[in-house]
Amino acid sequence: MRSGAAADHVGYFHETAFYHSDDEFVSVVAPFVADGAAAGEPTIVACGDRNTALLRNAVGEAGVRYVSGGDQYTRPGPTIRAYLAMFDELMAAGAAQIRVVGDVPHPGVGSEWYGWLRYEAAVNHAFGEYPLWGLCPYDTRTTPEAVLEDVSRLHPRVADGQGGHHHNDLYVDPSTFVLDHPTASVPDRQRRPPMLVLREPTAREVRDAIRTAAAGVLPEPETDGILVAASEAVANAYAHGHAPVEVRLWRDRHGLVVTVVDHGTGPSDPLVGLLPPDRSEPGGRGLWIVNQLCSNVQIRYGDGFHIELRMTSESSRSLSA
C-alpha cells in the first residue's frame, strides 16, 4: 500500500515543485521525506549540498538514504540506469512505494539543459512501471525561465508549499514535447568545418579515424568508449536510417565530437536511447549504449537524422568512477 498523495496511483507519480526560498524548499520537501521515512518506504534524497543540509537539519537521518546529487546526476543515460538498478533492488526487497527527491541539473547550476530536458521527459516512461513517487523541486532563484517553462510541461504532477498535490494541466506527451523542442542551438564546433568527413564509411573506417584523432586528446578508456558508441551509431544509421550515411569528426583540446547523419526520418520516439532497451523500438539498444558511454549525446531531426556524440576526458573521469 502506497502512502501519501500517490496512494491510489499506479506507476510513477512524477511531480515537480517550484520554490523561491530555503524555507519554501523545506516546507515542500521535508514532509515528503519525513512521511516516506515514517511509512517505512525507501526514501532517497539526491540533492545538492545546500538542499541536503536543509533536509538533514529538518528531517534527520532515520529512514532516509542520502546520496550525493552530483554523483547521482552525472549524465542522463547513466543516471536513468543507476536509478533503475536501485529501484529493482528496492522492489526485490519488497518496497510498496519508493520516494525520491532529486535536484536535476540545469544551467543555473552550471549544466547544459538539453540532455536533462530529455531526461525529465524520458523518466515518465523509463520509470513508468515502478510504484515510485519522484519529486523534482526547482529553485526559481537560479533556474532560467525557459527551463522552468520546460519543467512545467514535463511533470504530470505539481506540489505546492501548503501540502497540496495537483494534476498539472500544462503537462504534455513527453515524446511529442521533445520532438517539438529541438536542440537549442547548433554547437559552435559544428559551425567550423569538421576535421574529417567520411561518406558511407564502414564502422571499421570510422573506428580507424577515431583512433587516429583521439591520440593525444583522449585517454585509452575514453577512446574505447567513443569507439564503441560511434560504431553503434553507424550500425544504427545503416540498419534503420537511409543512405547516404555521413560521419563528421571534430577534435579540440577537450576531446572528440562525432556526428553520424543519415537521411532517414530518425527514430519515431525521440526518447529512444534513454529508455531501457527491452522497452524500446528496434535499434534502441544501440542508442541506449551510446547514451551510456558518451559524455554528451544530442539528436537532431530535420534534413535527416543527426546524432552527435561527444567524448571528453573530463567527464569521462566520472564515467569510470
Partner: protein, 280 residues
C-alpha cells in the same frame, strides 16, 4: 603458444598448429601442403596428405620427402577422400576427432614425435549440412590439437565452394592464408576459446553461427575467453557470447586489452554470465 593470424606459406608451423588454406588454384595449395609436410618430417612427425585433389602427385612427393630425410616408409601416408567417405557423407565430429587422436597415439607409439596432416577437405564441406557438421568438427579437432602432438593444414577450394562457405570454414582456424572474416574464433585454454580480430555488423551473422558451432567445451563452471587480440566487439557480439553461455548454464571470464567490452558488459548487465577483465 600456437601460431595465429595469416601466413602466406605452409612454413613455420609447430606441432599443435592448425592452419586453414583457402585456394582458388590447386597448385598453390599443393605447394603450401608440401612446405607444411616437409617441416613435419624435419620435426620427426609422421606426415600424411588426404585429398581431394593431387593425391597421386602428393603420394610421390611424400615418399621422396620421407626417403630424403632418412625416415622409415611408415613415416608418410596418403589417402584419397573418395576411398574414405561417400560423396555426400556428413562427418561425425566426435568420430573424426577420435580417429585423429588414435592416429596421433599410433604415430607416437611408432616412435614419431607427432602427427601432421594436410587435407583437402573441400568434398566434405559442400552442402550446408556437411559444412555445419564439418565446422563443428573443425572446432573439436582444434581443441584436440591443444593437447596432443597433432598439427593440420585444412585446405578448401574457394572457387568450388564459394566465398561464403570458405569464410564459414576459415573463421574457425587459428591461422589462415587469407582472412575472409573480420574475426577468428578457435579453441583456447581452460575449456574456453580465443577470439581475435573485430566483431561488428560486417560479420555478425557468421560470428553468431560460429559461436553456435563451437559451444562451450567441458563442464567447468567458468571458462576463459581469451580476447586479448580482439580489436573490437559490438553489443550484438557481446550478447551472442552471453547467450551462448546462458544456453549451456556456464559463466566466462573474458580477458581483453580494450575497455570497450567491459563497458558493454556493464551497460548490458551481463556481469552474471560474462565477466570482463582488462589486462595490460
Amino acid at each position: 603458444m600456437r601460431t595465429t593470424g595469416t601466413s602466406c606459406s605452409g612454413r613455420g608451423f609447430a606441432s599443435h598448429d592448425h592452419l586453414c588454406w583457402i585456394y582458388d588454384d590447386q597448385q598453390s595449395m599443393l605447394d603450401a601442403a608440401r612446405e607444411f609436410l616437409r617441416e613435419g618430417v624435419a620435426m620427426g612427425h609422421r606426415i600424411g596428405y588426404i585429398g581431394g585433389v593431387g593425391v597421386a602427385q602428393m603420394s610421390e612427393e611424400i615418399s621422396r620427402m620421407v626417403r630424403d630425410a632418412g625416415r622409415p616408409d611408415n613415416a608418410g601416408f596418403v589417402a584419397d577422400l573418395a576411398d574414405m567417405y561417400r560423396w555426400d557423407e556428413i562427418v561425425s565430429p566426435p568420430g573424426q576427432v577420435e580417429a585423429y587422436a588414435a592416429a596421433t597415439a599410433d604415430a607416437l607409439r611408432d616412435g614419431f614425435t607427432g602427427l601432421r596432416v594436410a587435407a583437402d577437405a573441400t568434398d566434405l564441406a559442400r552442402s550446408p549440412a556437411q559444412r555445419d557438421a564439418f565446422t563443428r568438427y573443425e572446432h573439436l579437432i582444434d581443441r584436440c590439437m591443444l593437447d596432443v602432438s597433432f598439427s593440420a593444414m585444412c585446405a578448401y577450394d574457394r572457387s568450388s565452394l564459394g566465398a561464403d562457405a570458405a569464410a564459414e570454414l576459415s573463421c574457425m582456424h587459428p591461422s589462415c592464408n587469407i582472412r575472409l572474416t573480420s574475426f577468428a574464433v578457435f579453441a583456447g585454454a581452460d575449456e574456453g576459446f580465443v577470439l581475435q580480430g573485430e566483431v561488428d555488423v560486417v560479420d555478425r551473422r557468421r560470428f553468431l553461427t560460429a559461436l553456435d558451432r563451437i559451444g562451450p567445451a567441458g563442464d567447468g563452471e567458468e571458462l576463459t575467453i581469451d580476447a586479448t587480440e580482439l580489436d573490437f566487439i559490438d553489443h550484438h557480439g557481446m550478447l551472442g557470447l552471453s547467450e551462448l553461455l546462458e544456453r549451456s548454464g556456464r559463466r566466462a571470464v573474458m580477458r581483453t586489452r580494450s575497455a570497450g567490452p567491459a563497458r558493454l558488459a556493464e551497460v548490458l548487465g551481463l556481469g552474471q554470465t560474462l565477466r570482463v577483465e582488462v589486462v595490460v
